[in-house]
């Protein structure tokens, strides 16, 4: 009996600590919804600048996610299936954007892509301007979100037993066909969840974008601009609209997770 009481106390303390953290995470969002939810919905329909910023955010985040999927899926496959020299270097390159402050990422991209740099100069020479354009926004979004997609895709592919590909190959598939016909269809939920998470990360990016492309304004930059220029009252609808935008991928990820659990339960 003597040992049970401290255990119960510890459980109560743990529950209290968890509640404090959960409240800390939920309250700002709930407050924002309560104070600005209605104005956010109104803003989406009535504020042309906000509508334009959201459209730009959705478009650039979608392009960046498609690029991450197109370029990142082969890399994720390679990481999931092969143990190779330099693997930890590749992994470090993928982890870096997640660890550095995003304005620092923006500065690094600016140095790389500004007109004075070799790459920026070469791009300008063929008529491609990155800084201060939607292309710059896509570049900033890709930099911060591609590692998230690659990491999720690597896990999803690693979850598919490579012997499935082996069986497909003995049944006549080339390596490429076995990946397209077996591995990717089996990993699609994980790949889609990774893409949705990467999209959400891209859509919510501010730090790198604000340095690389202040204009045209995506929703996060518009929220910051309105807050610093006009104050809370003007910033609130934009912030609330961004929050609504973030709920869409959140719901999608939850739905995918639910489907995965249901599929797993059905297998048991």
């Amino acid at each position: 009996m003597k040992r049970r009481a401290p255990l119960r106390h510890r459980s109560i303390l743990a529950a209290l600590a968890a509640s404090v953290l959960l409240l800390f995470l939920a309250l700002p969002t709930l407050t924002l919804v309560a104070r600005g939810g209605a104005s956010g919905v109104r803003g989406i329909f009535g504020d042309a600048e906000l509508r334009g910023a959201i459209a730009l955010t959705v478009l650039t985040a979608t392009i960046s996610t498609l690029l991450a999927a197109l370029l990142g899926t082969p890399l994720a496959y390679w990481l999931a299936r092969h143990d190779f020299r330099g693997r930890s270097l590749v992994q470090a390159i993928l982890d870096l954007p997640l660890l550095i402050p995003h304005p620092v990422a923006g500065i690094a991209l600016l140095i790389l892509l500004a007109r004075g740099s070799p790459i920026g100069g070469a791009l300008l020479a063929v008529g491609i301007r990155v800084v201060g354009t939607p292309l710059g926004i896509v570049a900033a979004m890709l930099f911060v979100s591609a590692p998230i997609y690659v990491s999720a895709a690597r896990e999803a592919i690693a979850d598919v037993d490579p012997r499935y590909e082996g069986v497909a190959r003995t049944l006549g598939d080339s390596f490429r066909a076995s990946v397209y016909r077996v591995t990717l269809p089996m990993a699609w939920r994980g790949l889609l969840a990774g893409a949705v998470t990467a999209w959400a990360r891209a859509a919510s990016e501010f730090g790198a974008i604000v340095i690389l492309a202040w204009q045209p304004r995506v929703a996060s930059v518009l929220a910051y601009d309105r807050f610093t220029t006009f104050g809370m009252r003007e910033a609130l609808p934009v912030a609330a609209a961004l929050l609504i935008l973030a709920l869409v991928p959140l719901a999608l990820i939850r739905a995918l997770g639910g489907e995965r659990r249901a599929a797993a339960a059905q297998r048991l």
Partner: protein, 341 residues
């Protein structure tokens, strides 16, 4: 035919080293080995799913060492069915199907009734049948089986064995089947290769490998339960005496003097209440240590002057002899039943 010549495959710390053996065209080859011996690695090397460190593999008349799996025309069935979960049964069976082979595969395996089913609703046995149908439907020249019956109940296992054996004989296809099950190997194998710790210890006609194991390890792996180590000494023409502990065992052999092993099958050991009046050269008083087993046979562990033996007798004989731990009996076996290696 399937021929491996000095095949070496590395997989992490494991090395399948210099595997060489051949299975004649249209026959059934079995690779027998314990878990971790490298059986699956060997099979995957034949399928082209593992890169060889060295060596060569011939399928039919063609050296396929450099060919990718899809160009080798092999069918592969693993212990786990590995059905593609995003396809239904029909989608799985038809995945790599060629011509009329699909209808034949469906008929032989009896999976008609399953064709529209979601694979997640199949039992383990049904899944394995579908996996077999999928492999047969691709009309392979060589069928590779990785312990395909291990997860099946005995009646289904027997039925599936028959299906594969019939298909193999009728189509003249070469099969390579890996298993740890000695009985399965004895039932199916025309050719037997014994694999241990990444090395092929012995290969050849199955009857010859079972009857004349090259080494005590092969004898153990091929199910010989009595392997006695000792000093052999020729005593007369064609007869050898092997001193193993307190016993001298006589064997019909022309082996030279020196360290050797005597191998006696458990089914060759005869038990009797008194010393037998038969012609058996080897007869020893023994005590029963343990006996047990299900079905019609009883496995009896014995101690003969400190040397352990195993015998298999019918349940009726066990009753007659009143076999129980501590009971005194005589064990005997013929000199011709002893293999020296």
């Amino acid at each position: 035919m399937i021929e491996l010549r000095n095949v070496a495959v590395r997989q992490g710390d494991f090395l399948l080293a210099d595997a060489s053996f051949a299975v004649e065209a249209g026959t059934y080859g079995v690779v027998l080995g314990a878990a971790g011996a490298g059986k699956t690695t060997l099979l995957e090397a034949v399928a082209g799913l593992r890169t060889l460190e060295r060596g060569a593999i011939t399928l039919g008349a063609r050296d396929v060492t450099a060919l990718p799996p899809e160009a080798r025309r092999v069918g592969m069935v693993y212990q786990q069915a590995l059905l593609f979960p995003h396809l239904d049964v029909a989608g799985n069976v038809g995945y790599g199907a060629r011509g009329a082979a699909i209808a034949d595969a469906i008929e032989r395996t009896g999976v008609h009734a399953l064709l529209g089913r979601d694979i997640r609703t199949l039992s383990g046995g049904e899944s394995q049948l579908v996996a077999l149908a999928r492999a047969l439907a691709s009309d392979p020249r060589v069928l590779l089986l990785d312990e395909p019956f291990a997860a099946l109940d005995p009646p289904r296992r027997a039925a599936m064995r028959r299906t594969i054996r019939d298909w193999q004989r009728e189509r003249g296809v070469t099969v390579l089947h890996v298993t740890h099950d000695v009985n399965e190997a004895a039932l199916l194998a025309d050719t037997l290769a014994v694999l241990d710790a990444g090395r092929v210890l012995q290969s050849g006609a199955a009857t010859a490998v079972f009857a004349h194991p090259d080494s005590p390890r092969v004898a153990e792996l091929t199910g010989a339960e009595n392997v006695l180590a000792g000093e052999a000494e020729p005593v007369e023409d064609g007869l050898v005496a092997l001193r193993a502990g307190a016993l001298t065992v006589y064997a019909a052999s022309d082996v030279r003097a020196g360290r050797a092993h005597a191998v006696i099958g458990a089914d060759e050991v005869v038990l009797s209440a008194r010393a037998p009046a038969s012609s058996a050269r080897n007869s020893f008083a023994a005590r029963v240590v343990a006996c047990g087993g299900s079905g019609s046979l009883v496995r009896v562990e014995l101690d003969a002057s400190g040397v352990p033996f195993v015998a298999v007798v019918t349940r009726g004989a066990a009753r007659e002899l009143a076999l129980a731990p501590g009971a005194a009996v005589h064990l005997s076996f013929k000199a011709t039943a002893v293999r020296i290696c």
